[in-house]
Symmetry: C2
Amino acid sequence: MRSVGSRIELLKIIAHPVRIRILEELTKGVKCVSDFEEFLEISQPNVSQHLSLLRTHGIIDYYMDGRLRCYFLRDPIIPDIIKLLKKDYIEELPAPACCSVTKKGTYPGKRSH
Amino acid sequence: MRSVGSRIELLKIIAHPVRIRILEELTKGVKCVSDFEEFLEISQPNVSQHLSLLRTHGIIDYYMDGRLRCYFLRDPIIPDIIKLLKKDYIEELPAPACCSVTKKGTYPGKRSH
DNA sequence: ACAATATATTCAAATATTATTATATTTTTA
DNA sequence: TAAAAATATAATAATATTTGAATATATTGT
């Protein structure tokens, strides 16, 4: 099992608009570099850089098909994260009851309300 | 509903070891700054900076209790993310069938395997 | 073998993030 | 009302991230 620490590292890596779009596409199926180049509208070297970063972190991998590199998802947490990013939340979390006590909050003075 | 773009921004903000620990604690309940100072073992200004960042992004908020600031969770996605970070995945995603066709992949040449 | 295609790597510049130090603000107690 | 406690803000320095430009590599077609 991966540690929470390495999961945070993973979050950091994927928390980028281009990389999320790459991963979103890969949840749908295999794609090669020039497929991405087309719909991401960024330069080929930049696409490669993002793919490379994702790959060195074990998030994606590829196989060769002629001179194409066909990328695919490897880390099973990705589809769950993508799903979560699209999940609809209606409200904020309920505010805690006023003046609940924090660790230090056996505060001697008067409470302000 | 929040856009996927703003959710990516949120990911970026929370993808930091200290901030995840703060949020993890807040899923358990209200905490004040000096509570964090204690168990995070970082300086008070640094705690405040992290809290401030989380607050300006609407992820957490606080109420006053005397001179204490009692912080609590606001964004309902946080508990779900924390849960996901701790979720146990046994294997990698299944590799796609060899040589499946990408958009450009009606490749005329021989396949390398 | 040579040209073309698909992709990767390297370097540098611009920008963003992080932690530290010093100082300020606010509320409460004496 | 002055001191203290709790917390915030600002400025800085160190570091990391991001992109762009140029170049390199690898595979296939001729």
